[in-house]
Amino acid sequence: MTGFWSKFIPKRQPRLDKHPFVLGLHNVYVLPGRWGISFVVLVFLLSIISTNYNNNLGFLLTFLLTVLGLASAIHGQRNLAGLSLTPGKVDAVFLGEPLAYPLQLENASFSARYAITAITSNGDKYAVAQAVPHSITPILLYAIPSRRGRHSIGTLVVESRYPFGLFRLWTRFTFAWHGLVYPAPAPDSKPLPISSDEQGAGAGNVAGDDDLTGFRRYQTGDPIKHLHWKSYAKGRGLHTRIYLQGSPKFLWVDFNMADEADVEAKISRLCRWVLDAEHMGIDYGLRLPGLEIAPHRGASHLEACLTALALLTITR
């Protein structure tokens, strides 16, 4: 949120759990910007010249500009009024990747709306040149999260200086709008903690480098070491080598198995393992302090595991 006036506007904004957020008279601020203030000075100058020369056409010009300036506020207000904003579904990302919040700008009216800018709390601006009548314009707001877990885009500002730039019209709102940030997978590949029996905790076999079972397309989280550079160099795209030894029924990814000292590093390691296990097509279960997810496979299981890792809090 920028601007001189922001100092005087209370920051407190109601969280909007109900969408869409419809812009109207009651939630749009209208205040002159720097050009607006210069314009006032200009009009004052014109009025002085008109007075000095007793020039009635000059007065007419001055008064027209005065009213024009005021009318522009109403036109600016009309430009925003009736637009509705709906938060879209946010896809989860791994830590380090940008989260995309799709904000749907809907113009259900018969008139086009112009020059609307969405501003995120970190100051990034996303301009919409025109919202045509009866349309929904998606605006992708990006945020780069710094922590795993639930990320909130925070307070958003939608502003416009239409039509003459004299007034800045803006509205602030905060949706209950979150994106999930999975932990970043550990970059290096440690072997999967594979155990052949159910109780086998920690005594897992290690996947050797020579036990190549096949290739598949590169997916986020794959260790760089396993990339198949030859095929990449041939222009066939990025592929990962898959290694497997033996054929265990399932494995447990256990919080205590990761030997990293730092908690976050441990979580990253677990994330890596979960991804690797999923990629290899092994059933895997997740054991975290206070939480256990039964071994399984598939997209929804993976999501459940990653979500558990993302939201894991360790209290000491």
């Binding site: 210069s38 020369y53 112009y114 020059a115």
Partner: protein, 646 residues
């Protein structure tokens, strides 16, 4: 360069300003204007090159060059001419250093200043039209700074701007009428005397061989009471006393104290108001003899009504005059001036006057002098011969051809020779009555000169010797247009235009112009006070205004937010479809309440196979527009077209 300050935006600004500044060609010398257009033309063409902005030292050189041009052409740096030239030069140079959005705002501000500057030169009706024209362009340019140009093309922006201006107009007019005014000037202005034809402060009849009678407006008069007859309409201007035989000069006489004046007003008063065109001098034209005068003016002892300041702007003033008045006493100063004669010039005239003087009273002498003009083949002409030595003798005894100034001066000299105090009065006589607007219009071609003589018991008496020669000059004023044709110094096209213009059109235009001057341009603090007074008398206007304001405040937001839906409660698609239904109903196929558009079209097509193709087109478009996710103005237009063709 800033992405915002794109080439397209700048080109648009250049073209817009180029158009806005065109009227300056009427008012300014061409130096600064050519500089302006040269620079912006150069900028327009060089915008695509990189770097677009010239280096600083070139800019400095150009600034100096522009300054010199202004200095040379405008003779100094004060005054509105040089001010406007400077503004022009500054504006075009600003274009050369555009870097950020702020620079474009500055250019917009300069454009508004340039528009205002033009009003200082002319406030004619067409300038009011120009105001709206220029303001629309500037607003469209300003709008262009805040939207993407691709989605909002210039023509659309022009329309939008015109719409906003139209909406702002009523409130602006209210502000114009009611906002408090300070009477300018706030600081003293450098005086620029308009080079206008008009009455001069010197009189030199012999040296003029051709009287240029322009049909330019001098002033217009609205009478409150009944106007006096045409031959009584003598509008007094400068009064001349002193002469060396060739030149005549005015004398500064003390002010006439209206309260204790040695003047007796008689008869009925004439109330009237005058809109005087600026002439750069002090005198305010008035009928004899003013009794009520404007506050910032004074009446001199020789009955000249003088403004305290030079008349540089058009001004409106109200007067009350008494055509019949008497003055009892003549001061010795006036007597001395009224009898002053040039030395050694009038020897040939003495015998003539002495002959009259013997055994005759003053009025009889006057009658003899007028009879002399009548009976000795004097002619009234606008092209008199040049009189170099002893012009009065030469005129009276040899050439006997001249216009009003010749007659007035010669008559005054004759009177003075006869020991009757006399003076020359210049001003205007008559005027043209505008029946449409009920006002009198006096043009420069109505300029006139006459004489006044002092008669005991009567005071100063007006004698118009020209009337003795050319009575029609007094009884019926010249048609300005016909004089225009005769006079040689008018360009040919103007003559033709004045012939072509029918008289009624001219009268209509004069009426319009007069109304503009009287009601719009003369509106000032006093007019505002009168308007408020009238309001006070008519209503309790505070309440009225409060009520209006309250109603407006309540209505405007609703109108803006819901007005469109309110006035347009069907969307266009629905409207056209209903139109189509009506058309089919007229053909005997009304839509049944239970029928959807598709069923209806099927049934209609079966009944009218000849219209089947059209019906199917319309229905397809309607369904697409109504139920599809498309909204396209062109499709809507197409729908309307198809329906209209059905």
């Amino acid at each position: 360069m800033n992405k915002f300050v794109s080439t397209t935006r700048q080109r648009e600004l250049i073209l817009g300003l180029g158009i806005i500044c065109l009227p300056f060609f009427l008012y300014l010398s061409y130096g600064a204007l050519f500089f302006f257009y040269f620079i912006i033309g150069f900028r327009y063409l060089s915008l695509s090159k990189k770097p677009a902005n010239p280096p600083r030292r070139i800019l400095l050189l150009l600034t100096i060059a522009g300054g010199i041009i202004v200095w040379l052409q405008a003779n100094g740096i004060l005054g509105k001419t040089s001010g406007a030239s400077l503004l022009l030069v500054g504006t075009c140079l600003k274009f050369l250093e555009v870097k950020t959005k702020r620079d474009l705002y500055i250019i917009i501000s300069l454009a508004l200043l340039l528009v205002l500057t033009q009003f200082l030169f002319s406030q004619a009706i067409f300038m009011a039209l120009y105001l709206f024209f220029a303001l629309t362009i500037i607003c469209a340019l300003l709008l262009g700074l805040h939207v993407e140009l691709e989605v909002f093309p210039f023509v659309q922006r022009l329309r939008k701007s015109a719409f906003i201006i139209f909406q702002s107009l009523p409130l602006a007019l209210l502000l114009f009428l009611f906002s408090p005014r300070i009477t300018g000037p706030l600081w003293s202005l450098p005086e620029e005397k308009p080079a206008l034809t008009g009455l001069g402060d010197k009189l030199e009849p012999g040296s003029i061989t051709q009287l240029g009678l322009s049909s330019e407006l001098a002033f217009r008069v609205n009478f409150v009471t009944a106007p006096p007859p045409q031959n009584q309409l003598y509008w007094r201007g400068p009064v001349f006393w002193w002469t060396d035989g060739k030149h005549w000069e005015m004398r500064n006489l003390p002010n006439l104290d209206l309260e204790h004046a040695p003047v007796f007003y008689q008869g009925t008063a004439v109330d009237y108001s005058i809109v005087l065109e600026p002439h750069g001098q002090k005198w305010l034209l008035a009928l004899d003899l003013p009794q009520m005068i404007p506050a910032d003016s004074h009446l001199t002892l020789d009955f000249q009504l003088l403004s305290n300041a030079n008349v540089l702007n058009r001004r409106l003033y109200a007067l009350r005059s008494y055509p019949v008045y008497a003055q009892k006493t003549l001061t010795s100063f006036e007597r001395r001036l009224g009898l002053q004669l040039p030395a050694n010039q009038l020897d040939l005239l003495y015998p003539l006057v002495t002959h009259w003087r013997v055994g005759h009273t003053d009025p009889e002498v006057i009658a003899l002098a007028l009879a002399y003009f009548r009976n000795n083949h004097f002619f009234y002409t606008l092209n008199p011969p040049l009189l170099l030595h002893h012009p009065i003798e030469q005129f009276l005894l040899e050439t006997r051809r001249g216009f009003c100034e010749h007659y007035a001066t010669a008559f005054v000299v004759l009177m003075r020779l006869a020991e009757i105090p006399a003076r020359v009065v210049t001003g205007y006589q008559g005027g043209q009555w505008n029946e449409l607007g009920k006002f009198l219009e006096i043009r420069q071609s109505d300029a006139h000169a006459w004489a006044e003589v002092w008669l005991e018991d009567q005071g100063w008496v007006r004698i118009d010797p020209t009337a003795a020669i050319a009575p029609e000059r007094i009884e019926k004023p010249f048609d300005a247009a016909s004089i225009n044709i005769e006079s040689l110094n008018t360009p040919t096209w103007q003559k033709e235009v004045s012939v072509l213009w029918s008289k009624s059109l001219r009268i209509f235009w004069a009426n319009l112009d007069h109304g503009w001057h009287r009601w719009v341009l003369s509106y000032d603090r006093d007019s505002r006070a009168r308007l408020l007074q009238w309001f006070d008398a008519a209503f309790s206007w505070h309440w009225l205004l409060g009520l209006i304001a309250a109603v407006l405040m309540c209505c405007i937001p609703f109108l803006f937010l819901y007005g469109r839906d309110f006035f347009n409660h069907h969307d266009p698609v629905q409207r056209y479809y209903l139109w189509y239904c009506r058309k089919l109903a007229d053909l005997g196929l009304p839509r049944r309440p239970c029928e959807g558009p598709l069923d209806y079209s099927q049934r209609a097509s079966m009944a009218r196979p000849d219209l089947a193709a059209k019906i199917s087109d319309i229905t397809r478009l309607y369904v697409l527009l109504r139920y599809g996710s498309v909204f396209d103005r062109n499709l809507t237009k197409m729908l309307r077209f198809h329906v209209s063709q059905l």
